[in-house]
């Protein structure tokens, strides 16, 4: 494994963490958005807010980690992707800013219209961000990012069949993970009606996401042949099969009310997909344009980057782990407040 490969592995690891942990976070917003009217959706929204409160911004650590690794290790590829995919990137950033602000401000709303305004901003941006990030990933994976300063099409690079597929999958996957997490939270809080509600939501989104993922292979076959071939042969295929099995296993676990175990198996399913993507297009970094080796920064930079990434991870990981540990065991927030 070369230094550049190690950096790529770090990026894939960070992306997995962001999709699993950040995804569950965004998915909470999806369930907030679809909870129905103010009266009907109240209990559900309260649980979302309660569960997300302690961890809701911590997850952006992973996004920052991925971005820093990407621009330091693969500067030309990063510049090309950012300058071509800037519309999707801009929407994602604006969504992240609005989402955080709206979530914080909603807690201070003193009337229903105010709460509605901030709630809507929070929920809509929770769907917008994973869609845009997924669509941007789809643009890279389907070879729509040429090398150069804004050399690609600013719209077609992230509004195309592959991008739409991955964007929609990102939203659904987020919703699925969030439903599993929230069902576990509801169970621990003794809110059996909410537990049922999220269990049903988890099963429904899990089935839909799985169906779209399998059907999506046909989209990839037509739109991104190289990626499709990579995913249906060799190591890529192993990852796809592993992901499908893990996905199926989470559905069974949710069905049997084993929400805690379902979280971890769900994480494996997502990790297998990000690893599968990396392996399917390896050694290409920007398919058809740059290989990992061609795009890599000089070795001195990569060594410095890997050393600081490991030191950073050693510094942050214990704190992040403690935070997640406390969040999943419910020691951070008090009893669920109903508004």
């Amino acid at each position: 494994m070369s230094l550049a490969d190690a950096c790529l592995a770090g990026i894939a690891l960070g992306m997995t963490a962001y999709v699993v942990l950040g995804g569950a976070d965004f998915g909470g917003g999806f369930w907030d958005l679809t909870a129905g009217g103010a009266e009907r959706g109240r209990a559900l929204r309260d649980l979302v807010r309660h569960s997300m409160g302690p961890v809701w911004e911590a997850n952006h650590v992973w996004l920052i980690f991925v971005l820093v690794l990407a621009w330091t290790a693969f500067p030309v590829a990063f510049g090309s992707a950012m300058s071509t995919l800037y519309v999707a990137g801009f929407l994602a950033v604006a969504g992240i800013v609005l989402r955080g602000a709206a979530f914080a401000l909603r807690g201070q709303a003193s009337s229903l219209p105010e709460a509605r305004l901030f709630g809507a901003a929070f929920a809509l941006s929770s769907v917008l961000v994973p869609f845009c990030l997924g669509a941007a990933a789809g643009g890279i994976a389907s070879g729509r990012v040429p090398v150069g300063n804004a050399a690609g099409d600013p719209w077609a690079s992230w509004l195309n069949p592959t991008s739409l597929l991955i964007g929609v999958l990102a939203v659904l996957l987020s919703a699925y993970l969030a439903a599993v997490f929230l069902a576990a939270d509801a169970e621990r809080a003794g809110l059996l009606e909410l537990r049922r509600a999220f269990r049903a939501r988890a099963l429904a989104t899990g089935c839909v996401a799985g169906a779209i993922a399998i059907g999506g292979l046909l989209v990839l076959r037509a739109d991104a042949r190289a990626l499709f071939d990579g995913l249906t042969s060799g190591r890529g295929l192993i990852c796809v099969v592993l992901s499908a099995l893990a996905g199926l296993a989470t559905l069974v676990l949710v069905w049997r009310d084993r929400f805690a175990a379902a979280r971890y198996v769900g994480a494996v399913a997502v990790a297998a997909i990000t690893a599968g993507w990396a392996l399917a297009q390896y050694p290409q970094l920007l398919p058809g344009e740059l290989t990992v080796a061609q795009a890599a920064a000089p070795d001195a930079t990569l060594v410095a980057l890997l050393v600081s990434a490991v030191l950073g991870a050693l510094t942050i990981a214990p704190a992040q782990l403690a935070l997640y540990r406390m969040a999943v065991t419910g020691r951070l927030a008090g009893p669920v407040e109903t508004s």
Binding site: Y86, S111, A150
Partner: protein, 201 residues
Amino acid sequence: MAKDQPTKLAAFEGLGHTTAGAPMHIGGVYENGAVRGGIELPRMLSLLARHDANAPIQGLSAVPPADRPPVNVVRFAFQAMVAIGTLLALMGIAYLAVWWRRGRLPRSHWFYRLLVAAGPLSLIALLAGWTTTEVGRQPWVVYGVMRTSTGVTAARGIGIALVVLLGVYAALAAAIFWLLRRLARHSPQSDVREELRLRPA
């Protein structure tokens, strides 16, 4: 900085030409290679930058005009940062002096007026510091290696993105202002959410 980014230092101080025993100026405006209307502190720059009152300091004219930053913007930001920082430090010393000598808080109304101003001033100093270092490096984005003009994105519609972003942040600023005003009106003990719960939806 005298060693690694001499042009930036020259812009801070408005030093037109390379000078042995270079002075510093407080205030004033940079015009035609020299600072006019400031208070001159002879040899101070050489002393601070090189620990030698007679050391030569590289001036702006050592590089072509196209490689120099806009001097007055950089100088004004730098002086504002230093002035505010000095003021804040002096306030701390004044407070400690009163506390140590008299064992009580300062009684002067001016001290408290300054204290109120210190919050916004510290933010202004922060922004001035950014302006100093970022504008002072111009026209380079990577000093001596890459021009800002070659580092910028070729994507179209960046102006639109900027306006939208300004709009987002203006809306956020308005929301924060609204929130702080509400928190200032209600005492912190009364939980706003309690009221929401009592009010019929």
